[in-house]
Every structure is written in C-alpha cells, then in structure tokens.
Symmetry: C2
Subunit: 443 residues, 2 copies
C-alpha cells in the first residue's frame, strides 16, 4: 500500500485515536516498555547488523555512536517511557470556560493535533521517544528514521506498534516509512497530514519547508550567543562559556558566538581566550578583538588555536551567520546590551542566547530585547533541551515563533477545539438586539 493510502486511512482513524482515554494510552506505553525489555536480544541483534553495515560503508565514528543501541540506550528509553507515564494527560484540558449568555456555554479544550509526520536522524532511541510522545498525546504518526538504522528501526517499530495495538491503539495509527522516496510522497499528503516535524541538518529542514504545504515545525539553525556584559562576574563567565562551546559541539544549542562588552574587552578576552585554547577552541573575530589579543601576547607565535584571530582572518559581517558545530568560536565586541541584542536578533537564529551579568537591569533588558526561544542569564546555552526543561522528552526544538517555540514536548503535540453548548440559541436574536451576550468566565 502506498504512503498516501496508508496516510488516508490514518487520517480516517485519527478521530477514534483521539477519543481513546489516557488509560489506554498509558497502558500502551507500559506494553511497549515490557515488549522492548523482553525482546532486547532481538533488538540488539538487529542493531549489530546496522553497525556491521556502517563499518562496511565506512560511516564516521560519531554517527556510529548514535546508531548504537545497547543495554544502556535501552534503559534510557525505558526511563523515558516511565517519565512519560508520570506526566499528566496533555489532552482534555479545559483552558477556557465562558458563559456567553444564559444557557450558552463555550469551552476550549486541548485535543491531539491528529496526524503528524516526523522525519528524524539515524538514532534508534529517537524512534522510541517520538512514537511514545505521539501515543501519549493521542496522535497518529508517520515515522521516517535515518536509513543507517533500518534494521534496528524495523524491529523496534514492529514491537512498538504491536504492543500499542495489544493495548487498544488502532494499528493504523502508526506507520513506518523506510524508503527515502517516501518522504516526498508524505510531503504531498497535505490534505491528510496536519504537521511535519523534520529533524536533521539545516539543509534537510529547509528542503522539507520548501517542498510541502503541510505546516512544518522545525529549527533551521542553531546560532546561539553568549554575551559577557560589562557587569559580568568573569569567574562565572569562563566556565559557562567553555561548557556552552565545548560540552557537545555538534548540538544546536552550543554557543557559536561570544559577544563581549567593550568596557571589559581587555580584561576578559585574554582570560577567555586562554581557557578556550586549553579546551581546543579556535577563535575567529573582528579586527578589534584580534588587536586586544595581540596586545595581550597572543598572535602568530601564540598557540595555533588562536593564530587566526591575530589578523590573518578578520571576520566580515556575514561570517557571524555561520553555525560551526565544531571547536570554533566567533568573537566580537559591543558597546551596550542593546547592541548585543541587535547583533543577536540580526545574525542569530532565534534559538537560545545568554547574558552573563550581575546587573539585574541589564539582564532584564537583554532578555526582553532578544527575540529568541530561550533567553538565559548566567548559565550555559546547552540547557535548551526538553529533558532538561522537565518535559520528559522532546520531539525537537522549534525556532519558529508560531505554535510551539523552543524544546517541544507533549504540549507542542496538542491543539484545541471550541465546544459550544446551547439550548436552541440562534444568532438572529443577538443581531436583532432581542438578546445580548454577557460573557461570564466560569473558570
């Protein structure tokens, strides 16, 4: 059966799936956890096939690390399911209840979005996490994982779908796409799919956005900033900066640009440069930043990591739009909080940006002016993550401003509907003035 036929069936079954109680959805999660546990050897065997193929194909070690699905990853997955079980049902919440007039009551209630397509990277744990988030939130899902994990994903998906079905979730509500060509087929189902969530490289996310009429929730870039203010505690700033840049360079929430207030440039920049160099970070900066470092003794004769900033490679404006995902950091001096915010709003990706300062007014101004999903004070940009926010898990991090922003957990997978309960009320009576609304909130 084609993707389109499957997705049409899924669309038809989605209201029924949405009508199932949270008890059934939680039972499904428990059944999934039990099934993954009892079939662990089968999963690991499939994963060994994927790993062997990765070896044969000369796949990079960093990718293989993510491909690998062992006892440790399984136990993380099971802990994630446990945590999802403890999170309240995101659907059925009445968020507005208003008597419009005598006997005419309006309610706004959260409901599943419906049919969601999720295209994600080659990580078997992502398949488990994403399908469980969709089940818990009452959604149907089309899942397409990276081809490098095809064998593991097939085993995992079959176990998940069968366990969910045994608990009463219609089997049509979950579908795994495996061929790459099926992505394009999925993107054309704008009459059946309510939301697409692509995870992966920037160019991939942009491709999805450019090739579908389905609303897309994704993030395009992760150009995060750490701004060290004039009133920063510099002893606090250095370890935060090191963590934000180096704790996991390939993450979208890693800091790519360091902004420093001009008033503390000469005192802070050399200190930061030394610590960054010791952590293997290469700096690239404006001529002004380079001059400060040259004056402080860095330069062509300095450690290689810093040679670039010493005048060989002064950055142009557009260089600040670069997402390194590597041990490289852009550096620039600014004259005020407002200038820092303006730089971030112009060159950043509206993901996560931090101010290091002891000055409350500066922090407040920065956090108000910076137009990003996450605005931080005195901590690492690396905290931008659904698990670290206490959401249990995330389907992704949104840099869009519409619908959901930042790490997206269960709440981003629901929408709402309005229910209006009447006793024969007609609009004509209100238009003629025979009756009038009185709008009384009941909640």
């Amino acid at each position: 059966m084609s993707i389109r036929d499957n997705v049409r069936k899924m669309k038809e079954v989605s209201p029924t799936v949405a009508s199932l109680g949270v008890d059934i959805r939680n039972s499904a999660l428990k059944a999934i956890a039990a099934s993954l546990s009892s079939h662990s050897e089968e999963i690991f065997a499939a994963n060994r096939e994927d790993l062997a193929r990765a070896d044969a194909d000369g796949i990079a070690d960093s990718v293989k690390k993510r491909l690998k699905f062992d006892e440790h990853k399984l136990s993380d997955c099971l802990a994630g399911i446990d945590s999802l079980l403890s999170i309240p049902d995101p659907t059925g919440k009445v968020t507005l209840k208003r008597e419009l007039d005598e006997g005419l009551v309006l309610e706004r209630v959260t409901v599943p979005i419906g049919v969601i397509g999720i295209i994600f990277e080659a990580r078997p744990d992502a398949l488990v996490q994403i399908s469980c988030l969709c089940i818990k939130s009452g959604n149907c899902a089309v899942l397409k994982g990276g081809r490098e994990t095809a064998s593991t994903n097939k085993v995992l998906f079959d176990l998940i779908r069968d366990a969910a079905a045994s608990a009463g979730i219609p089997a049509e509500s979950l579908l795994q796409a495996s061929a790459h060509s099926e992505i394009d087929e999925l993107l054309e189902c704008d009459d059946c799919v309510d939301l697409v969530i692509p995870r992966g490289s920037n160019s991939f996310v942009r491709y999805i956005m450019d090739h579908t009429k389905i609303p897309v929730m994704g993030h395009s870039d992760g150009i995060c900033h750490t701004y060290v203010d004039q009133y920063a505690d510099q002893e606090l700033a250095v370890p935060i900066l090191i963590d934000a840049k180096t704790q996991y360079t390939a993450a979208c929430n890693a800091t790519e640009t360091l902004l420093v207030h001009r008033a503390i440039g000469a005192s802070f920049l050399p200190k930061a440069a030394k610590a960054l160099a010791e952590n293997g970070v290469k700096l690239r900066g404006t001529e002004e930043a380079a001059a400060i470092l040259r004056d402080a003794g860095f330069g062509k004769e300095a450690p290689a990591a810093l040679s670039q900033i010493a005048g060989d490679d002064v950055m142009g404006e557009d260089d600040f739009r670069k997402e390194y995902l590597d041990l490289v950091l852009s550096v620039k001096l600014v004259g005020s909080v407002d200038e820092a915010a303006a730089h971030i709003n112009r060159f950043g990706s509206h993901h996560t940006d931090c101010i290091i300062t002891e000055d409350d007014a500066a922090a407040d101004r920065f956090m108000t002016l910076v137009d990003s999903a996450g605005v931080y004070r005195n901590c690492s940009t690396r905290f931008a993550d659904g698990f670290r926010y206490g959401f249990g898990a995330e389907v992704g991090i949104s840099t869009s401003k519409i619908h959901a922003r930042g790490p997206v957990g269960l709440e981003g997978l629901v929408t709402y509907k309005y229910r209006l309960y009447g006793h024969g009320q007609i609009v004509g009576d209100y238009a003629s003035g025979k009756k009038a609304f009185h709008f009384r909130n009941l909640l």
Copy 2:
C-alpha cells in the same frame, strides 16, 4: 522606500515595540479613538470618494455596503477599541515557572509574535480593528486592505499611526501597503515577517499559502454542517437550521450541509424543507433525501426552491465539498453519529459543525469525533466569531490546527519565550552526574 526596506526596519524595531508596557499600548488605543472621533468628517469625506468611485466602477451593492464608513460604523469601531482596552494584556503572562535545580529557574512568558502581515478585504472597519489588535498585543503590522477602500484607508491609517506615535509607539511599527504588487513583495520577506494572515476568498488565501515561506494563518473554506440526530428536539432544530443557513449566507460559518439521521428522515426532512423553502433556501440532496421529499409531496410541482432535490440533480460525493455562500443547502441522510462525523471530517473544512440532539452520549461522541475548530450542540453554527466568543475582536478564523484555531483574538497574536535564570550552572555537571535536576513547579 520599498516594502522590503520598510519591513526590515520594522523587524529591527519590533523588539523595542515588544518591550513597551501595556500602559503605553493602551494610551495609544485611547489616542486612536480620540483622533478618529475628532477627524470623523475627514474620514467620511474620504469614504465618499471611495463610494463615488465604486459607483462609477459598477461595484456590487453588497460590496458597497461593506465599503461604507459612516457614523454607525465609526461608533462600532470606537466601541471595539473600548472593549480592547478592558481586555487584560495578553503579553507578559508567566505560563510556566519551574525550578530545574537549586538556583536554576525556568519561566515561560507570553510575548508578541513580532512582525505580522495582514491582508484583508475592502472594509475600513477591519483596518481599525486589526491595527488596534496588533497594537494591544505589542506587534508590528503591515496592513494591506482592499483597493476599493484606498481613500478611506489612507486617512484612517495616517490617523492611527500618528495617534499611536504620539503615545510612544514607534512609527516604523505600522505600515500600510497600497499597491497590489506589494503583496508579492511582502510574501518574499520571510526573513523579517513572522506570520501572514490573509482574509478574503478561498482562492486568495490559497494563493497566499502557495506563494510564501512565511507561516500563514488563515482559513481555506467554510463548509459547516448541522447534523440533526435521531434524538433531536425537532422544534429546536428547525429555527437553528434556518439561522445557521440564512442569517448571513456569505459568512464562512453559515451551514452548507444538513445531515439527518435516517430514523427521523421521513418525519423531519419535509418539515425542514418547508421552513427552508419559506426562507428562500434551495435544497440539493442525495437520491434518498429526494425520495423522502417526493413521498411527502414535494417535487417538480412543488415550490421552485425544492424542485432540484426531486431527482433532477442528485448530488455526487464531491458536491458535498461545495461552499455555496448562498441560499442553497446540501442534504444527506446518515445512519449514526459516527457516520455523520466521518462525513464531516471527510467533506468539511474543519471550521464549525453542530449536532442537534437531546442525547448526551450522542452529543459527546459527535463533539469528540468531529475534528473541527468548533463543535456545537443545539445552537447555530453562526456563533463562530471572535466577538461572540467574547474575544473583543478577531483578526480572522483559523481552520489550521497549528498555533491558533477558530476565531483568533489577542491570544493568537502572541507566542512565548523561555527565560532561564542561573548562577553559573553548566550542563557538564548534569551530564557527569555531579548534579541532578529536581524539577519543582513554582506556579
């Protein structure tokens, strides 16, 4: 200056606009109300120019009625501004506050979306309503109204922008586009515009969706249903149906299809047909519906309004996708609530659909299964409207499931950001197990 240049400036000023307190925004609304009042003659004179041009161009009366801006429309606008003043600030609301760990506090706070482009029909009152909604919610707006109201809009817009500026709202935060070609220019500004809201015909909204990468909030169709259940109070059903179909046929929330439970087909359908005919409504239906009416004495010799249903024009499936916006109603019989819901989900536009029933279980089932922004019981579908929901005003009605659904007032014009307050926390400490999150909700 081109639209692009203006919009780029608007984007730059938008964080400042978002940082203004609600006092300034409310002062701006008061200044606008005062200015519109004191310049009413100027506005009416401009409107007379538009009306004269409409006469010369042979514009339809129904359009001219919407073009006209007189004392009555002005006083409606002023009442709308008053009502907006009384609605609490939609921004700055803390909707989540959680201690992730000792001294590491996460907040989610509502903020303006930023820059919104709104393209709307030829109605001067819409210009006032939309710009005031954007000002109240701290957003910047590019406004493009119908060309038939060019003179009135120019006067209104200048008064609004100047009054807002006098209260401290940057003049760059409001822009009026006047040439049609500027719409395409606006649609290309996906790096500066956060949301586009098109209002108008289906084909126009679809054109916008197909020609921009900016997220679009709009409604594509208004195919609303009234389902008369087996356990309906038929005396209640008839006036609801008449109101839903005829109170304002050109509205998107007017009922386009009547579904009737087969068990009451013979008793209800002739009664409904008679009342509909008396209100000038033409019926189109399935052969089954036509046969019932023929048996009841309707037919070729019956009033013209009913002739079509008598077998001359039996509907095919796709006919049920038609939005008449006229005194025409599709009719079909169904065997159950589930079948009614399935028809609505398949052929409707997920706008607003109603069940008429005295049976609580049937109502609940219908309201759960029907996947629409509004699901009603025992009242007219015409209630789907921001004013009638008590939102003060609306920028439009969304049939998308993402971000905002149904009538969209101030709440649909805000998004949120996460603020994280730390004291030097780094992710490395949590990754290594030196520290652990404890997630304590403070709200």
